[in-house]
Amino acid sequence: MIGWVAFACGVLFGFGLALSGMTNPAKVQAFLDPLGNWDASLACVMGGAVAASALGYVVCRRRDKPWFAAEFSLPTRRDIDARLLVGASLFGVGWGLVGLCPGPALAGIWRGSAEVFLFNAAMLVGVLAVRAADRS
């Protein structure tokens, strides 16, 4: 059951990404370039997305458990450490270089583009490297 729920949420998430235009790296980079031909659309996407997710969180706080699972798995950390800042910075540089973050990168697989494939392959290597290093 939880698998189907997650799949449906993934489809909806990908649909929203495509509708918003965030699946186009050029549009994301245009937001990140206020000195150039600025496209403010990403701000609208973030505004709409944060508002809807905040609403979901408000409902979540009033409930003991999710509809189809035993408990809510929410992040508990509150500290700001060097790892957070270094990681976010590295991610930001990579995001800016191409205009792809993990969601749109994976959502773009359907296009069969060699660039998207290369980006995803490198991203996966990075993910696995850090996870493997953290585990050992």
Binding site: G3, W4, A6, C9, L12, F13, G14, F15, G16, L17, A18, L19, S20, G21, N24, P25, A26, K27, A30, D33, D39, C44, M46, G47, V50, A51, A52, S53, A54, G56, Y57, R63, F68, L74, P75, R77, I80, L85, G87, A88, S89, G92, V93, G94, G96, V98, L100, C101, P102, G103, L106, A107, G108, W110, L118, N120, A122, G126, V127, R131
Partner: protein, 144 residues
């Protein structure tokens, strides 16, 4: 490729993204952070993998439907060359795992929960991305 401001479609798309995150939280109790879902798919707890794979599989399906229904009006263009693509992908992979999140986990879900950690991370990766595009396009003069 020049893109133009699309407030209606982008706000609506954003609301749908947030709605998908809200539904995953309320139905399955999970945070819709793509990099976290991906990271713990490989090195995760047994029995915690199926929903992750299912969610990630849904992304291209949904994006394909969305693009087909809208006649791919938003378009698609990558101007970065091969080696730089690999460097960028590696940075995104490493950075999101070290920093515990990306645009969805820290941005959409974290800000929605009012997490201070996510706010700091979001400001940090936004500034770095702005700086990167600024340097590439305006200091080095590499225009798409």
């Amino acid at each position: 490729m020049d893109t133009s401001f699309s407030p209606l479609a982008s706000t609506l798309g954003g609301v749908i993204i947030g709605l998908a995150s809200a539904l995953l939280l309320l139905a399955a109790g999970k945070i819709a952070g793509i990099s976290g879902i991906l990271g713990r798919l490989a090195f995760g707890v047994e029995g915690d993998r199926l929903w992750r794979a299912a969610f990630l599989l849904g992304l291209p399906v949904g994006a394909w439907i969305g693009s087909a229904l809208t006649g791919d009006v938003m378009g698609f263009s990558i101007t970065t060359s091969g080696p730089l693509l690999l460097v960028a992908g590696l940075l995104v992979g490493v950075g999101t795992q070290i920093g515990n999140g990306c645009t969805s986990g820290h941005g959409v879900c974290g800000l929605g929960r009012g997490s201070r950690r996510s706010l700091v991370a979001t400001i940090c990766f936004m500034l770095c991305a702005l700086l990167t595009v600024g340097i590439v396009r305006h200091a080095l003069g590499v225009q798409p």
